[in-house]
């Protein structure tokens, strides 16, 4: 089975210069790989570094040590050392990300927020909007909201806009940071179906799900992040 992403010996800590330079270790010795057509789940208690791992894979957090090798276009790229421009290209074409919270932009409609990643990949704007409509309908977002900027939406509504934005493209790798946290049961089931469709399409998914039922429904394997606790690694 193809492994489009391989993480090896990644370590991350935060140095708080405003707090006398104290160093907060987050994770160390993180090694795993993702397989196409599988959903891998990061498990472990809060604060174990699950979100930090996702953010490093997306280039949003810097990596102190180790490699994150991703198959991008026809070659391999180490995201831990890639230039900003390369990271942006990887985000545009290879790695998609559904964050926990939607970062809204004033005056941009929910429909265009969802369509944007497709437009960035060169899709025609109207075609992209058509796909956005279909996804928002599938996620039961009331149609009267589509033309409005999501800044004033409820948490669950924003989350669904965010999910649609993340699922609209055909990125071969998709990272999910608690996509179902503020959803009701009906919409959780929609997300489970969306994830199943991505798996069937050969996408490699990596997610954090605190909801037990969702995790049971989607996970092919679970990686316990507490095994990567910084400081424990020497053993």
């Amino acid at each position: 089975m193809p492994t489009p992403l391989v993480v090896s010996d990644v370590a991350k800590s935060f140095t708080m210069h405003l707090r006398d330079g104290i160093k907060l270790p987050v994770v160390a010795g993180v090694s795993f790989s993702l397989r196409a057509g599988e959903c891998t789940v990061l498990g472990g208690p809060s604060g174990a570094g699950k979100s930090s791992i996702l953010k490093m894979l997306y280039g949003n957090y810097a990596v102190d040590e180790g490699q994150i090798i991703v198959q991008h276009e026809d070659g391999l790229i180490d995201l831990a050392t890639a230039s900003p421009r390369k990271v942006l290209a990887v985000r545009r074409l290879t790695i998609g990300y559904v964050s926990q919270f939607l970062r809204t932009v004033p005056r941009v409609s929910a429909l265009d927020v969802v369509a944007e990643p497709l437009v960035e990949r060169g899709e025609d704007r109207e075609v992209a909007r058509g796909k956005a409509r279909a996804l928002l309908a599938q996620l039961n977002l009331p149609e009267k909201l589509w033309a409005l900027p999501p800044a004033t939406f409820s948490g669950g509504e924003q989350q669904r806009v965010n999910i649609a934005r993340g699922f609209i493209t055909e990125h071969p790798i998709l990272l999910l940071d608690e996509p179902t946290a503020s959803l009701d049961a009906r919409n959780r089931d929609v997300v489970i179906a969306l994830i199943a469709a991505k798996k069937a399409a050969g996408v490699a998914l990596l997610g954090i799900f605190h909801d037990h039922d969702v995790r049971e429904a989607v996970a092919d394997r679970i990686i316990d992040v507490s095994a990567f606790a910084a400081g424990k690694i020497a053993a």
């Binding site: 210069h17 949003n60 900003p84 942006l88 004033p106």
Partner: protein, 258 residues
């Protein structure tokens, strides 16, 4: 996306006597890329912007620009006339104070049309039609075309200045605190407008700002300056979400939450 940068800056320094304006600045800018330069007053960000836009000559270092014919030209070796031509056609410069970038005593339409005439347009009807089109793109009503910018609000003036700069289809735009001095609601509208224009036109831009929210919204890449030096640079969201340099951590932690 092109595989060659639009602008290559290498070891650029500017000294005012023995005082450092900016020192040893090196970066590449690609077409369609927006770079934010952030830092507090006196950090050297405006000096850098003025050197890059050749309004100031640096003390040392080089900057080369890829002309429309694909050839790189060393900016500080061009003649004054060549630089002015570049400034009028292929570049734009959006000043913090619109009065510095507009002619306050000619009409809004003429402010936009003037740049077109500078690139050789002579047909009055066409110039006016283009001006009307650009005013509407920056959300200024057509019936204000004959008014002087003196009669415009601050936000309108800034939008007019942007139209004046973009009408010639520049490939690179310099912006010095483009939203500084505007009300917050006016800022949001301007930012949204700028963001849309930059994306639609595939502009490259260098935006100097002390406002990290502006940097986050407009730019993909960011350089943080302090005392004339770049203390941290990288993807905008990386620098803001995982700041590494002590000064960047101070800046990020100083943002007021609303």
């Amino acid at each position: 996306m092109s595989d060659e940068p639009l602008l290559r800056v290498s070891a650029l320094s500017k000294f005012y006597g023995s005082r450092v304006g900016c020192e040893n600045i090196t970066f590449d800018l690609w077409p369609g890329e927006v770079l934010a330069v952030v830092g507090e007053s006196g950090s050297g960000k405006t000096t850098l912007l003025n050197c890059l836009s050749t309004r100031l000559l640096p003390s040392s270092g080089t900057a080369s620009y890829r002309m429309r014919d694909g050839q790189f030209r060393e900016l500080y070796r061009m003649s004054e006339a060549e630089r002015r031509f570049l400034m009028r056609t292929d570049w734009g410069f959006v000043h913090q104070n619109p009065a510095d970038g507009l002619r306050m005593t000619v009409s809004a339409g003429a402010n936009v049309g003037e740049r077109l005439m500078a690139v050789g347009d002579r047909h009055y009807g066409k110039i006016r039609a283009t001006a009307v089109d650009w005013l509407s793109r920056v959300e200024i009503d057509e019936d204000r075309i004959d008014d002087e910018p003196r009669a415009f609000s601050g936000g309108m003036r800034q939008r007019l200045q942007i139209a004046r700069n973009l009408v010639t289809g520049p490939r690179l735009v310099f912006m010095d605190e483009p939203t500084g001095g505007l009300d917050v609601s006016v800022q949001a509208r301007l930012l949204d407008l700028l963001r849309g224009l930059v994306t639609d036109l595939g502009l490259a831009a260098i935006v100097v700002t002390h406002d990290l929210a502006v940097a986050r919204l407009l730019s993909q890449r960011m350089m943080v300056m302090k005392d004339g030096h770049v203390v941290e640079s990288g993807l905008t969201d990386r620098v803001l979400d995982d700041p590494r340099a002590p000064y960047t951590q101070l800046l990020v932690s100083s943002i007021l939450q609303v």
